[in-house]
């Protein structure tokens, strides 16, 4: 009897206490007394908790990621080139101070050389791909493009390796004519500026691309170039690197670039020294692999075919094989043209992708206009 009475009293007191705490909490929230100003740092205990949660979360979430080889210089250069356009506004170039305005963020974006030095590559990859809540770090715009995220990770690993004195060359800043507004300026200005943005990574009349993972655009048809840029802008061709660039272009600018690159001669492509591979690639390109329902590549990728289909002769082998892998992982099947290639790319083996990429890279860029096209039995 007495025990029961004591229990009842305890429950009532607890309920009253909880109500008071909740009311106090609500009063605190609605009073607006908590200062959210970025100009004032967190309490040190808050900072400790936030940093610990972030650290543990990144470690746990990235536990099962497997890191591919990242020491390919072309992968590093692709990463560096994107770093220049996508990351520099907040994280600054290596060796340069953080932008004064940006540094007033809380937390302020760190110098990545410091971050990368202590972090395993899979954690960097995870952060680049997913971003971090409440820090201002955005997620990758095209999450399906793991290949791009790894390129940036490769650059960050290079950055972690110590003093980087070749950044300007890695990121293609030395490719842009001196005097032109380069680097951080938005692309949406004069044509001169926009073109300097393209040639920082892509080919022009004098040089090939900055990396074999960046496609050569010279000699592609106007139709193909316009289609590609519009697909990037409409976000149906996912790319965390090209989407941000293409979104800023209007139709008139797109037409200008297409004109420029269509009239440009192709630079020689990546050299692959493996005659056996090239020979196997040639067989696949000219005859296909009917047993596995793979049509010959030249049926569509030759000059006598629809201009919307890209020309492949002289294109980098690394880029071609990389795109075929993107197709296989479902990254390019959201466009009408991409769907055609998607079902064929799925049937290719890893070896076949490398073979056929090597073959097209080995062709002289002008091959399509005559030899290769007329050599294929179905062309006209």
């Amino acid at each position: 009897m007495w025990a029961k009475l004591a229990l009842n009293r305890l429950i009532v007191s607890l309920a009253v206490l909880l109500t008071l705490v909740a009311a106090a909490g609500a009063a605190f929230i609605w009073s607006g007394l908590y200062n959210v100003a970025a100009s004032r740092d967190h309490f040190s205990v808050t900072t400790w908790i936030l940093e610990k949660v972030l650290e543990q979360s990144v470690a746990t979430q990235s536990a099962f990621i497997e890191t591919p080889p990242l020491d390919d210089p072309d992968l590093v250069r692709l990463g560096a080139a994107h770093y220049e356009g996508g990351c520099v506004p907040c994280h600054s170039r290596p060796g340069e101070p953080i932008n004064v305005i940006v540094s007033q963020m809380l937390p302020s974006p760190p110098h990545l050389a410091d971050v990368a030095a202590g972090q395993p590559p899979e954690e960097l990859y995870w952060i680049v791909k997913h971003g971090l809540k409440y820090t201002g770090m955005p997620a990758w715009p095209a999450p399906i493009r793991d290949d791009e995220v790894w390129a940036l990770t490769a650059f960050l690993m290079e950055l972690a390796g110590g003093e980087m004195d070749n950044y300007r060359q890695l990121a293609g800043l030395d490719r842009v004519p001196s005097g032109a507004l380069a680097g951080t300026e938005p692309t949406h200005q004069t044509e001169a500026v926009t073109l300097t943005q393209c040639i920082r990574c892509h080919d022009d009349a004098a040089v090939s691309t900055i990396s074999t993972l960046v496609p050569q655009l010279g000699g592609q048809s106007i139709e193909y170039l316009e289609r590609a840029l519009k697909e990037y802008a409409a976000r149906v061709r996912p790319s965390g690197i090209m989407q941000p660039v293409a979104t800023h272009l209007d139709d008139r600018e797109i037409a200008k670039f297409a004109d420029y690159y269509a009239s440009l001669d192709v630079q020689p492509g990546q050299h692959v020294i493996d005659p056996a591979r090239i020979a196997r690639g040639r067989a696949l390109a000219t005859e296909g692999d009917p047993k596995n329902a793979i049509p010959r590549c030249l049926a569509c990728h030759s000059r006598s075919r629809a201009a919307e289909f890209p020309a492949l002769a002289g294109q980098h082998a690394d880029y071609l094989a990389g795109q075929l892998r993107v197709w296989q992982s479902g990254g390019r099947n959201r466009t009408a043209y991409g769907q055609i290639m998607a079902s064929i790319a799925r049937r290719l083996t890893d070896e076949q992708m490398l073979d056929v990429a090597a073959y097209f890279a080995s062709l002289p860029p002008e091959a399509y206009r005559n030899d290769a096209a007329s050599a294929s039995p179905g062309s006209e």
């Binding site: 296909g288 009917p290 047993k291 329902a293 793979i294 049509p295 010959r296 049926a299 569509c300 006598s304 075919r305 629809a306 919307e308 289909f309 009408a336 043209y337 769907q339 055609i340 290639m341 998607a342 079902s343 064929i344 039995p377 179905g378 062309s379 006209e380």
Partner: protein, 330 residues
Amino acid sequence: MWNRSLQIFATLPILLIAAGCVDVQSALNPAGGEAERIHTLSWILIIFCSVVFLGVAIATMIALFGSHRWRQRLAGERLVIGAGLIFPAAALSALLGYSVMIMGMAGSAEGQDGLRISVVGERWWWRVIYTARDGRRIESANELRVPIDQPVHVELTSADVIHSFWVPKLAGKLDMIPGRTNTLTLNVRGPGISRGQCAEYCGGAHALMSFFVIAMPPADFEAWLVRESQPAAVPADEAEIQGHALFVRSGCGACHTVRGTNASGTIAPDLTHVGNRHSLAAATLPNNAEAFARWISDNQHIKPENMMPPYEIYTERELAQLSAYLESLR
């Protein structure tokens, strides 16, 4: 409760009759030698089994409700030996012998005078190859034409996985096995059309892998074969010419053959005379311009997982031109 069961039993014969109504694909409506023999055998087995079932049911009723005298008789050793051992052994042996005899009665090897027909199962369609007396190879797809009232040997094989060739109206099913040729003999009575189906699960679009067998009087068949061996019709009007240009520009010839043009692909059905066929996409769609247009742009919804990429790149006008060209291939 009893009413429900009765209702269900009562619907069974109706279902059978309804199945028989589907005229083009019913084993209960045989139109060919082997199918007729299978049909006869089925009825003999059904009647035999019904009689035995009835006998057993009567014996059971006697055992449960019969007078003492009748039950004594039922328990006698003679009945056990006679009806339990001798009768089943004799009856089943006789039935086995009969069915082996009846199923072995393929038509004679004569009568085909040199024409060879082979059907290759592909994922998920049928490659049909006629090898004429003079050795000419005439390829078609998803439709088999045969002369009536004579045994026609069809060589069956597969290009990839195991398929099974079954035209219920004409014959039993026969598997198509990679690396092996099975021969099926069709002997169709009277001109007409029968539908067949792949009867061995072969992956994604298996359920939509069907075909038609069109039986014709021998003279008509010969005339048809001559037409079929001709190269494709030359596009005549403006739409067809534009359609042909699109066909070439889009690389369709990488997979499809249109004899008489540069399109020489062997991966997909031969389209030389596709406009003449009874159906499209292995008996999935009717053969008309609208179906061609739907198939080109939306085939992955019509027949999911089929090997042709969807071509959503065309405008309505271009689709109409392509369809006009394909329809003109008669």
